[in-house]
Assembly symmetry: C2
């Protein structure tokens, strides 16, 4: 699907389609109905963004190599979605994609808008924790506007975790799992985290911002050594780099597919359970009042974790749950 | 308490304290440690805001009448609070105090910050409805940052409704009541409404914006005639105008007093019930699936309305509840 492409996006698209030959400035100018000066500006923009584009005043332009950066024109070229990622806002560097997405959501941008950055300077985890987000990873936030009550907002985290784990396993042949509620693990090490935030009236969600961070094409050196037994990256696990553009495309498509099932949570949950790391394990709940140990046995219809404690099943909602004999609450 | 006053606020304060005599520019300038040109600017600002200030080049300045507008310096002069209203952001005209307060909350302003306007051009009610907000009323939004889960955010509406009803009854000797969850009535007509919005992670509130609109010193003519049997104003009911500055001061002080009890909801509720219009009445619940009629009998610990339907007690959360034989869902 190639809809809603801007002129800049169309220039890149034409260069991709014609990598075997040269396209003259005049051809490009005619096809897009803009001046040759504009074409020249678009080409320069692409070069600055890391594309290698050969040019000759006689024959024109030819794309040599792309940059595997996350430019919207690159992601949207082969993106097969109707809503998610139809608008992509790109930053080389950003404080936090979630904070920017929340501002945009409040100013009224469309559902499906994605904020993406090569690097986050102040990436955020749950409860205000830091989230390390160097070059080579995927750091993006997606704006959703479902017509649901705030109590159901937790479904967004299920959608994102399922989409991430499926995308990781499909593109890098590892066996990632979901640690309830919002982490993705390879083995027992965290490779991805999710932070869902919302703006709402008391009985109606205005927007959800689902922030996702995936440790893709960078080495463990980016983390403090004290975290090396708790976090990992896909590159560290497989020794291979994955196309980041393809990863984002696959991820956004998965998100959309699952998001369409929002009102059919049972179905999402069924798929989700196949990737669960938590269910069947002994967990520890640190609430303010007491410390509880029990077996995670299921997910309730409202997204709560059901834990069997002394033959009684209890419900837990937030991320105060940790796996026994592990220290997953800190780091990345 | 006179703390945190800006220089502009101090100029007004000095003028108030010395209404029986003239204050020379030099005196003001010395007391505040600013130039006489600055003093002259502050005086002009106050005049533009509606204050009558006599001046003579020989003897100086003297305050003749205040303006009963809602300038921060005016409200803060005799405001007896520690948090609520310590920062007041004032607009003559605004689109919506809630929208502005949400932006400010997101940018990190302190708890207790109040956004107030003489007039709202696009005042908002629940579920995106319009809220008529002409000159003479009180239109303000208060930013709170309680350390609670989103499911408890409804408490803010209880705090605001109780604070409003107490302030109305104290300052204008009417017998206003609270129509659950977020309207204040005189007789059976709406005189005030509340809109609570929030920004949150799934398990932690970041901010609450509690928007309050009170139909104070203006006539019914401001409403379409079709609404005259549903809405009223305090001026229409009593024929008297109330000092708006005093009203806001009393309201903010009540909010703070009740907010301090946030974690002791039982106590708030006990006070709230004395002003309830809804409890004991027959109500109709319009949910998407069914229409239910029953008797509103109590409020649950989590803020839900308990309705007795066919000898069974059921819980309802949102404003889908209306009183039978009335059409309270529209208007103002």
């Amino acid at each position: 699907m190639k809809k809603n492409l801007s002129r800049r996006e169309k220039v890149l698209d034409l260069l991709y389609q014609n990598q075997d030959k040269y396209l003259s400035g005049e051809e490009l100018s005619n096809k897009l109905g803009v001046s040759r000066t504009s074409i020249w500006k678009y080409i320069n923009y692409l070069r600055e963004a890391g594309y290698q584009i050969e040019s000759s005043s006689k024959v024109g332009y030819r794309l040599i190599t792309s940059a595997d950066n996350l430019l919207p024109e690159e992601i949207k070229r082969n993106l097969n979605t109707e809503i998610i990622g139809q608008e992509i806002i790109y930053y080389k560097e950003i404080e936090s994609t979630n904070d920017t997405a929340k501002r945009l959501a409040q100013s009224g941008v469309d559902e499906g808008t994605v904020v993406i950055a090569e690097e986050q300077k102040r990436g955020k985890g749950r409860l205000g924790r830091e989230f390390c987000s160097p070059l080579g990873g995927i750091w993006l936030s997606c704006i959703l506007r479902p017509d649901i009550k705030p109590t159901l907002a937790t479904r967004a985290t299920y959608i994102a975790s399922l989409a991430i784990v499926k995308t990781i396993n499909k593109l890098s042949a590892v066996d990632a799992k979901i640690k309830w509620p919002n982490d993705i693990l390879i083995g027992d090490k965290k490779v991805s985290g999710i932070l869902t935030e919302m703006g709402a009236e008391l009985d109606r969600v205005d927007y959800l911002v689902v922030g996702m961070g995936i440790n893709l094409n960078f080495s463990l050196d980016n983390f403090d050594e004290s975290l090396h037994n708790k976090v990992t990256t896909i590159y560290h696990e497989t020794g291979k780099k994955v196309s980041r553009v393809e990863f984002v495309q696959a991820l956004l498509e998965e998100i959309e597919r699952i998001y369409y099932k929002l009102n059919n949570f049972e179905e999402i949950l069924e798929e989700w359970k196949a990737y669960s790391y938590t269910l069947g394990r002994i967990v520890k709940i640190d609430s303010k009042r007491e410390e509880i140990i029990g077996e995670a046995i299921d997910i309730a219809e409202d997204g709560a974790l059901l834990v069997k404690v002394d033959d009684k099943v209890r419900k837990f909602y937030s991320g105060e749950v940790s796996l026994c004999h592990q220290g997953f609450n800190s780091g990345n």
